[in-house]
Subunit: 508 residues, 2 copies
C-alpha cells in the first residue's frame, strides 16, 4: 500500500463483459478525477467501499457507454464479486501488487518457499488478488522444481482455502480418475454400488473444460447437479452418496483459479496435479481414496514409469495428511463404454446399472473392479470379498435402486436426453481387426459434434480394439444438432477417423 | 491448426477499449454462428481476412452494443493491427496456440533451447501471436537459468525482429544508462558534444514507464521526438546525432512486447536486461557502445559485484556480435542535476549546455566524463584526449549550437515548458548535513506530482548530499498543476521526505 498514490471516487457501472476468471474494470481516458495516464505504470487498481476491497486489471476506454469520466465499469466477474449496486461511489487507486508476489519472485529465482509464504500465495489466489499473469508466474515458477515440503504446504494451503467438509462417520470413501479417456464414467456406477452397501461416498465432479463430457455434465442428464454444501450433506445423509458438481461446493477455490491459467498454457506438472486432486479430497473430508490412472498410448499417462512416479507422490501426500490412498493403473488404450458425450454416456451408465443385454462390458467390469477396492475399506469385506459384494449389489438391482434414490434426492434434470437428430456413420475403409483407437482424436471429434454444450451430441462406438470389421461396416456414428457441426465433424473424420485397422497398436 | 475446429463469418465492429499490448476481441454469448460455449476450452481465437491473420484473446458479452450476434468486436490494439474496416466479414475460429509454445514448455521443464526455437519464439512475440500469459510463461521459464548460447540467440533474434539500421560511416557510437537515477539526463548533453565533434551518435530513447521522465519525455519539451526511420537518417546525416523516441523506429518490437509483461510482474533478470539493451543497440547499427551503470543504495544496482557481473555479460554479448562495448560504473547515490520531471530536467540540460552560472555541476561533470569515453572512439583522440576535447566543445558553445541544430532538424516542440503553478517547499526538520537522498522515493514523489504526464510537474532540489542545512531551510520544491496532485504529494512527504540529515548514509 503506497499512502502517496493518487486515489479518487468513481461511480460503479456494470459492463456486460465476461472476462472469465479475472476481475477487469474499465475507466474513461478522460476520467474526471483519475487520470488514466497516471496509471501507465500500474496495470492493476484497487476498489474500496466500506470494508470491501477488490483488486482488478484496468482497461482504458474512449466510449462513454462503457464508462463515463465519473464512472468505473465493472466487468461481470468483478461486478459479481464486489457485489455493490450500480451507481455506488467507490474509492479507486492504483493497486500495489499483493505482497506474496515477492515470494513468487523468490521462487522464480530458485529459492525454496516456507509454509507461511505458500499459505499467503494461496490465500491471495483464492481471493482473486492475482492477475492472470501473476498466477502464471507462480505456476511456472513452481513448475520446474518444488520440494516435498513445498508440495505438502501447497496441498494443505489449497485444502484450507475453501469449504472443508466434516462427516459424522469414521470412514468416508472417494474415487478419482486423472482423466483423458472418453466415455470413462465409472463414478456413476461405482457411487450407487458403494452407497448401496452403506459406505458414505460424497462424490463431487467437474464439468468438461477441454473434454466432451465431465461426470457432472453426464449426471446432469439424469438429475440436478448444482447442489450447495448444506443440501449435499442432507443428500449424503439420506443416500450415503451423491454425484454433484464440485463448482457449487467451493472445495478448493485456489485450485479453480490455477486451473483457469494452467489450461490455456497447457501446463501439466505432476506436483500440481497431485496438489490439485489431493487438496480437493482432503477438503471434502475423504478418509479413503482410490486413484485411477489409465495408461495408454493416447492417455494422459503413457507409461508405467510415469504412473509409478505419480503413485508415489499421491501416496506420500496422502500419508502426511493421514488419508489412506490407493493408486491403481487401468487400461487406457481406448474409450470405455460405447458412448462419448453426456446423453450417450448416461445411457451406457443406466444400461450397466439396469443389467441390460447391450450394456458395455468394459464399463461394467472396470466399475466393479473400482467398487471392489472401495468396498474393501469396510473392515467386514477386507481381504478380497469386495468384488463379489460389488457384483451382488449390481446384479441384484440394488445399485440401480440406489441410483434412483440419489437422482430423486438431487432432484429432476432439466436437460433433454434426446440424441442429436443429424447423424452420420464412419465406415471401415477395409477388412481387418481394429488395432487402436485414438482417445485424443475421439475427444476432439465429440467436441466438434457439439458435446458437452449439446448434451445429445457425441459419438456411439460400434467397434472396439480386437473387433473384426468388414470394409464399409460402420465403426461409429456421430450425432449432431446443427448442420455446421455435422459438416465440420464429417470433414474432421475424412482424413484420420481415429481408428487403426490391422495396424501396429499405437505407441509400439 | 486443427482443420476440424469450428469457424464462422462475423462482421467487424470497433470496441473502444484500450487493452494495452494485448489483442482482445469480444463475441456475443448468443453469437449467430459461433457458439461461445464451444470456445470454453479455447481462450484465443484466430481472425482471417484475405491473407491476414490475427490472434486475439476472447471475451464474451451479453451487450449487443459491444458485439451483436453476427459481429465480432475488436478492441483498439486488435482493430489497429488488423486494419480492416468496420463491417468487414472475417472468418473466426478457435486458435491453436503458436507452435513455438512447445519450446516454451520445454524450457519450463528445464531443457536448453536451440537458436531456431528461440528465433521462432521471438518472431511470434514480435507478431503479437502470444497472449500476455504466454509471454509471461516464456519470461519466467527463462528467468531462472539461460545458457550463454541461449542469451546470444535471444539477443540476435530480438535484434533481427524489427528495423535494422545501417549507417554509411565505420564508427557509430551510442550510450545507454540502465536507469533508475532521477534527473540523470546526460544523453541530452553528451549527444550534442559528440555530434559537434563529428562522430555519428543516432540516439533513440524510451519514454517513462515507471519513472517520472524518460529522455524522450524530456527532449520532447525542446523538440519533436516522434520521428520515423527515414527522417531519423536525414537528421543524423545533417547533424551527426539525434535525440528521438525509440517507439517510432521499431528497433526491437519483441523487446517492447516483453517489457509490457516484465513491468507489471517486476521481473528483472540480468540476462533479459542485457538481451533487451544489446538487441536494440545492435539493431540501431551502433559499432561502439558505452554502458553507464549507476551504483548506489537506492539505485537498480546496489553493489560492485552485481555491477561486475552485468559488465561481463554486456562485454560477452558485445564481443560475439562484433561491437565494442565499454561498461563504466558511476555514482548512483543521489539524483543527478537539480530537476526531476521533464521541464525541470530540460532546464538543467540547457543550463549546462549554455554554461550558465547556476547549471548543475554533477550533470556537467558526468556528461563530460561519458562524452570523453565516446570521443576516444575517434582514433585521433585515443589515449586520454577525450575529456579535454569534450570540455572544449561544451565551454566554447559548440555543443549548444549543435543542440540547437538537432532541435531545428527534429522540429519544434508542441509541449508547454511552463512549470506547475501550485508548489510547496519541503523543509529541513533540523540542522545538519544531508547524508542521503532516496532515489526511489524521489521518483515516486515526482510521479505523484504529475510527471511525466504534466511536463512541468516535478521536483527542484536545493540541497544534495554533503550540503549543510539549517532547520526550516527548503530541501526541495514540488511543482504540480492540480490541487489533488498537490495535496497527495504534500501528504506523501509528511512521513518520509526522502532526505536523511546527519544520518548514516543509506546502505551502510
Amino acid at each position: 500500500m503506497h499512502p502517496d498514490l493518487p486515489h479518487s471516487q468513481l461511480k460503479i457501472r456494470r459492463v456486460r463483459l465476461d472476462t472469465g476468471r479475472e476481475n477487469v474494470v474499465v475507466v474513461s481516458r478522460r476520467s474526471k478525477a483519475l487520470r488514466a495516464e497516471i496509471f501507465r505504470g500500474f496495470s492493476r487498481v484497487e476498489l474500496r467501499q466500506g470494508g470491501k476491497v477488490l483488486l482488478a486489471t484496468l482497461l482504458i476506454t474512449d466510449d462513454d457507454t462503457l464508462a463515463a469520466p465519473d464512472e468505473i465499469g465493472l466487468s461481470e466477474p468483478a461486478f459479481r464479486r464486489f457485489a455493490e449496486a450500480v451507481g455506488t461511489e467507490v474509492t479507486v487507486r492504483p493497486a500495489s501488487p499483493p505482497e506474496s508476489l515477492e515470494a513468487v519472485r523468490a521462487k522464480i529465482r530458485g529459492r525454496t518457499l516456507s509454509q507461511a509464504e505458500i499459505g499467503a500465495i494461496i490465500s491471495d489466489l483464492a481471493h482473486y488478488r492475482y492477475s492472470d499473469m501473476e498466477i502464471a508466474a507462480f505456476l511456472i515458477g513452481s513448475a520446474s522444481f518444488i520440494t516435498s515440503d513445498e508440495l505438502l504446504a501447497l496441498t494443505g494451503a489449497m485444502a484450507q482455502a475453501g469449504t472443508q467438509l466434516v462427516w459424522p462417520t469414521p470412514v468416508v470413501v472417494d474415487k478419482h480418475c486423472i482423466g483423458g479417456i472418453p466415455g470413462n464414467r465409472t463414478s456413476m456406477v461405482v457411487v450407487p454400488i458403494v452407497a448401496a452397501h452403506g459406505l458414505p461416498i460424497p462424490k463431487t465432479s467437474s464439468r468438461a473444460i477441454t473434454s466432451p463430457a465431465g461426470t457432472a455434465d453426464t449426471m446432469e442428464v439424469l438429475a440436478r447437479v448444482n447442489v450447495g454444501v448444506e443440501e449435499m450433506k442432507a443428500i449424503v445423509s439420506a443416500c450415503n452418496g451423491c454425484l454433484i458438481w464440485g463448482g457449487h461446493v467451493n472445495l478448493s477455490p485456489a485450485d479453480d483459479v490455477m486451473i483457469s491459467v494452467e489450461r490455456p498454457l497447457s501446463l501439466d506438472t505432476r506436483e500440481q496435479m497431485v496438489a490439485s486432486i489431493m487438496s480437493k479430497k482432503i477438503a471434502a473430508g475423504s478418509t479413503h481414496l482410490l486413484i485411477d490412472i489409465p495408461v495408454g498410448p493416447t492417455a494422459k499417462v503413457t507409461g508405467g514409469v510415469e504412473a509409478m512416479r505419480l503413485r508415489k507422490l499421491f501416496e506420500f501426500v496422502g500419508d502426511r495428511f493421514g488419508r489412506s490412498v490407493e493408486v491403481i493403473t487401468t487400461d487406457g488404450s481406448q474409450p470405455i463404454g460405447n458412448g462419448i458425450g453426456p446423453v450417450l454416456e448416461a445411457n451406457d451408465v443406466m444400461a450397466v446399472l439396469g443389467n441390460e443385454a447391450g450394456a458395455p462390458r468394459d464399463l461394467r467390469e472396470k466399475s466393479l473392479r473400482l467398487a471392489a477396492h472401495l468396498l474393501e475399506y469396510d473392515p467386514k469385506l477386507r481381504g478380497g470379498a469386495g468384488y463379489a459384494r460389488a457384483r451382488e449389489l449390481l446384479d441384484s438391482g440394488a445399485a440401480l435402486k440406489q441410483m434412483q434414490k440419489i437422482i430423486d434426492a438431487q432432484g429432476p434434470s432439466t436437460c433433454s436426453n434426446e440424441l442429436g437428430p443429424l447423424s452420420f456413420d464412419v465406415e471401415a475403409p477395409h477388412d481387418g481387426i481394429v488395432s487402436a483407437i485414438d482417445c485424443l482424436r475421439m475427444n476432439r471429434l465429440a467436441r466438434t459434434a457439439g458435446a458437452p454444450l449439446d448434451k445429445g451430441a457425441g459419438i456411439r462406438l460400434f467397434k472396439k480394439i480386437g473387433d473384426r470389421v468388414e470394409q464399409g461396416e460402420p465403426l461409429y456414428r456421430v450425432y449432431t444438432f446443427g448442420r455446421s457441426e455435422h459438416d465440420l465433424a464429417a470433414s474432421a473424420t475424412a482424413g484420420d477417423n481415429g481408428y487403426a485397422i490391422n495396424g501396429k497398436p499405437l505407441g509400439e
